[in-house]
Subunit: 203 residues, 2 copies
DNA sequence: GCCCTTAAGTAGTCGCTGTCAACAATGTAT
DNA sequence: ATACATTGTTGACAGCGACTACTTAAGGGC
């Protein structure tokens, strides 16, 4: 467009470039105003070019949110320990990975949970989001089978897990977990309560 | 401005009217784009009039967010039961009131936790937000004194409480608590786990 | 090797927004 | 009565999302 003189008329892989650029922008700062024109500028194309690949801004954001959920799920899967000794050892690394994902990608994480306002887009987005829930379900199910977890309706336990982790992540992103109020390791403390709530007292 | 012919030049109480109008707009629909000019239109003043009372849009939103936190705190205080028999009876009504506040005012609740991105505004906003945390602290402290709650660092228990409730509220707002996945009463189920994690097993 | 359809880029425009500056009307203190 | 501060109004500006019309390149059939 302006800087590269010999750039060809057609970008060639603009769709991917737009997504990549947008992800970069999200990573930069959480106070940032996400703008379609800025994405185009950084990608070196005209302001209307992205419309050839996405019907509107919301569609691009939804796509990015889906990628976010996929990455989060991967992070969680990667964080699973193979041979956990205790319930606490099983839950802690996953929870830490979850919260870390949120605090390291605050704008992306926030987007993931606010891009689904449109009904039909929200459907597809929620599918991906619920894949995260499945990670919790799976872990807890194994715990119940082994006997380290109380016999309770597993969806309820998974809801508690997701609610607590998601909530702590959000609070962390919003800077509400101030040490003077909430202690120096609020996540670990909260996990203690969660583990004691999930764990089988007979063990 | 246009509809009322005999309206005086000066509104008289525009600051309050702007806030009230904005709250109405937030209440209407969560997909709504909040616009300063639309607020002015509905309040029947010119598009620049609100600037005489708020330096910019963010300042108005921050003010509204503070009101939201105050109202939430009032809701929680009002929901406290006087003579709870069990820990569950003590926690449930407050938690229900919290989540109900969020699901009944989704746009407001979301705003409350996203208006604090500016550093200095965020400070004041976080003060109000932490007042909500204090409600949890107070309740749990009494529980520990009575003996219905495990002796653990109380900030950690309060963090678990807030994280779980805040998380469940957010998930509910986002429509992620679908019954097929998460059961028909996910909040109650999650509260079971929370109560079992907080509660003193000796009782 | 040419042509023609079509995908993928461009520029230009529209209505809308947030914000600011200049001006007008009102209330208030002296 | 008059000067000043407050609180309105109008008009402007740049930037945004979205649309249309135009241009450029790529590829396939003949």
């Amino acid at each position: 467009m302006q800087d590269a003189p010999n750039r060809p008329y057609h970008h060639g892989d603009l769709r991917r470039a737009v997504i990549e650029t947008a992800l970069d922008m999200l990573r930069e700062e959480k106070g940032w105003q996400f703008t379609l024109r800025e994405v185009a500028r950084r990608a070196g194309v005209s302001h209307a070019a992205p419309y050839k690949h996405f019907p509107d801004k919301a569609a691009l954001l939804a796509e990015i949110a889906m990628i976010g959920f996929d990455r989060l799920r991967e992070s969680l899967s990667a964080a699973k320990s193979e041979a956990p000794k205790t319930l606490r050892d099983e839950i802690t690394p996953i929870a830490r990975a979850y919260v870390a994902f949120g605090t390291e990608n605050p704008a992306l994480y926030r987007l993931m949970f606010s891009a689904g306002e449109d009904k039909v887009v929200g459907m597809h987005l929620n599918e991906r989001a619920l894949a995260v829930f499945d990670v919790a379900l799976e872990t807890l199910r194994r715990g119940q089978a082994v006997g380290s977890i109380r016999k309770r309706p597993i969806e309820g336990q998974a809801a508690a897990w997701w609610g607590l982790i998601h909530g702590m992540t959000m609070l962390a992103i919003d800077g509400l977990l101030v040490p003077e109020k909430v202690g120096s390791a609020p996540l670990d403390a909260a996990l203690s309560t969660l583990v004691e709530g999930l764990g089988n007292p007979a063990t």
